[in-house]
Amino acid sequence: MSAARIRALRKAYGTHLVFDGLDLDVARGERVAILGASGCGKSTLLRCIAGLERSDAGTIATTGEIGVVFQEPRLFPWLDVERNVAFPARNDAERARVGNVLALVGLAHAAKRIPKELSGGMAQRAALARALVRDPALLLLDEPFAALDALRRIELRAAVREILEFTRASAILVTHDVDDALALADRVVVLAGSPAEIAFTGQVGETATRGAILDALGVVEVRSRPAPARSGRHGASYTS
């Protein structure tokens, strides 16, 4: 059984066709990273799966609860961290999970703070905790680290990795960062073209190497060369 099964997905904004017959499967417990150039439709795909966008044709089947983390934390500013995290809880069992997920993301000490008192990294942790409260079978992560500085990004990436290991939830991570993809995913999918199609798919540790992914993204990595011994711009001395 799969966590998400997408068949012949078609989605257009006006005359712009984003997808025309996209297929994608995410196996139970599998973590898939979706990469692609800006505006290629990665986020649209996630929004379709989350039910925020209506597809024009095709089917999207998911099993179990879905949790979503966006690029921005999207916390309710009038609720403290604990209540934000408890927001989706529908019963006592889910409410009882609040403390656990707060501890899991490392925010147990900040439960009573309100969003304006949180740093960007903490706010994103709270958003992650909120997405976990219903014990989702599938986590949708839409560039969850994009708004963070480099150090917070490394921290949160490690935290997400641990959480995914711990919860064994399936995940779809939309990102434009190859390192995020390699660190978190079992499989990497590259979307390209218009309408977007799967240009590459490969298992991390097998075919999905950094080089292969960059290749599929059409990125030419310029290797830094050692600086020339005599530079004419600043340091060169004419007398020596």
């Binding site: 989350a50 039910g51 925020l52 879905i66 979503v68 966006f70 921005e72 999207r74 309710f76 500013p77 009038w78 927001f87 989706p88 309100i114 969003p115 304006k116 219903r134």
Partner: protein, 247 residues
Amino acid sequence: MARFVVPLALLAGWWAASASGFIKSYQLASPRDVVRELLDLAQSGLLWRDLGASVERVALGFAIALLCALVLGSLVGGSRIAERALDPTLQGIRAVPSLAWVPLILLWLGIGETAKITLVAIGAFFPIYVALVSGIRGVDRKLVEVGTIFGLSRFALIARVLVPATLPQLLVGARIGLTQAWLFLVAAELLAATNGLGFLLTDGQQTSRTDEILVAILLFAACGKLSESAMRLLEKRLVGWTDTVQA
């Protein structure tokens, strides 16, 4: 400390001018006369009668305005159809300087309490209505999406996301509306009243009692300041979570 310098200097100047006879008492009563008049009015019970009447009119008018603004504002803010049907008319009415309604109100409702409360309500309504509509329009779509993802019902979405998100704007509108209510109360009571702070003003004018006029003005200032402070306190309590620079 600095904040007291100018008021105290004004008070001293006022006292000096009336004590030296530079200003006659029929032009401006001395501070002493004003205080004495205030105490007299308080002792005779007239002060409480007038203050009570005015506060009651403001409270009733404001409550009616708030209720109407909540109903109409929610409709117009929440539905495009209601907006097209109602908003142009309301904006048209709003464009009329509200005191221009006075003659009609007097003809329709006479000079009784209903007319005064109606006028106060008209004054307080528009700031609340406008703030509420723009508050509803300004709700962060991204927060609404969070509610949608969790499968909130329409009612739950309104109660748990839209209402709290709109509250800051609504409270600002209510604060301005309350100030407007006092403004329109003066107009209403100047026209026709047998009690109230506005009546003190006209009574003072007709009997050339500047001390009475000044007592009324001071009471208006106190009431306006008190109600504004109360609203600000309410804002701080209810929507202290807003991440904006407080005015």
